[in-house]
């Protein structure tokens, strides 16, 4: 696994997202599920819906990272592409809940960074049959 950048990044990001999702439930007791008023987890404002999304993304990344290189590439690229696509579509739907990317906050910087990193690594690295078996 240490020879495959995709497996490595999927495993690390998966573990971090899972941890953030689990810790998020510790700080959002009493907060409405989809809601409106979140709670702060370090710099991330989260609510239970975000926690579920973090858990789902983390589980998918961790599973793919532990499973194999081809799956890790696919999941990395898919997670990055979906986030970037939702953000870009949201730029044109101004009054929509999809308009999530255009905020000047540290959590948005980290979300965008993880999206481009996952998409870029998924598209660019581990293309050889040799490393696909790593």
């Amino acid at each position: 696994m240490r020879n495959s950048p995709n497996r490595l990044i999927a495993t690390v990001f998966g573990a971090v997202y899972l941890l953030v999702g689990l810790l998020g439930f510790a700080v959002t007791s009493g907060v409405g599920f989809a809601a409106t008023e979140g709670a702060n987890l370090i710099i991330f404002e989260v609510n239970p819906l975000h926690n579920v999304i973090h858990l789902a993304i983390g589980a998918a990344l961790l599973f793919a990272g532990l499973r194999g290189t081809a799956g890790a590439r696919t999941v990395n690229a898919t997670v990055g592409a979906v986030y970037l696509l939702v953000g870009i579509v949201g730029l044109f739907l101004l009054n929509s809940p999809l308009n999530i990317i255009a905020l000047n906050g540290a959590d948005n910087v980290l979300h965008l960074a993880s999206a481009v990193l996952l998409l870029g690594v998924g598209l660019s690295l581990d293309k050889s049959p040799a490393t696909a078996r790593a």
Binding site: V12, E45, I88, L94, I101, L103, D107, L117, S124, A130
Partner: protein
Amino acid sequence: MPRNGEAGHVTAGYGAIVLPVSVPSDLPAAPRPAGSQASPAVRLVTGFAGFGAGSVNLAISSSSLASAGASNPGLLIAAAVAGLWGLALLAGAVLFLARDRPAGRPGQYALAAAAAAHLGAIVLPGFAPAGLGLTQLSALLLTLMIIASLAWLRRAEGSRDRRLPAASQRAGIRPGRLLLAAFAGAVLVAGITTPGLAASTAGQYAVPHGEHGNLSPGGHHQH
């Protein structure tokens, strides 16, 4: 260990040059070019900057559309140009990363023209929709980042061609270090892109996690 004169197998797993290659083990240890360690990371950061520049240009397009009325066809044209250029940047970044297809001469001219247009929008009043100075600056920085890193890659590839086979050079790169460098590049790109997006019209309506439901423009500005 292969004995003197036998072929040793080296597996390189980064970028397009990835198949196992045979390297005669009795070759003298050639000095590793400085670019060989950094090339995959620079390639990734170039792609990240392409995603960022594409997103910011689409935000410029969205802002121009939002402020363009039926009486202002100039803004509609500006919105169309920025939107098409943003989509081209996104598609170019995907092709560049997925197929290692570098920007040709027309692409380089288009990037230079885009940088000049962003600069003109910043320094010349009336050249572009008002209130997008920070967004244009963000787009300019990301475009310059693409131009500079493409030039660096061309130079690194040129020097590599004159020395060792590419695969043997890439074999020594550690994935952990590569990913740390790529993460730093991604944070840098996101740190330039995010304020640019937030300064656009979409940023005035964007939905913070804790303020769903309040969609009045200007209510969420955090810059």
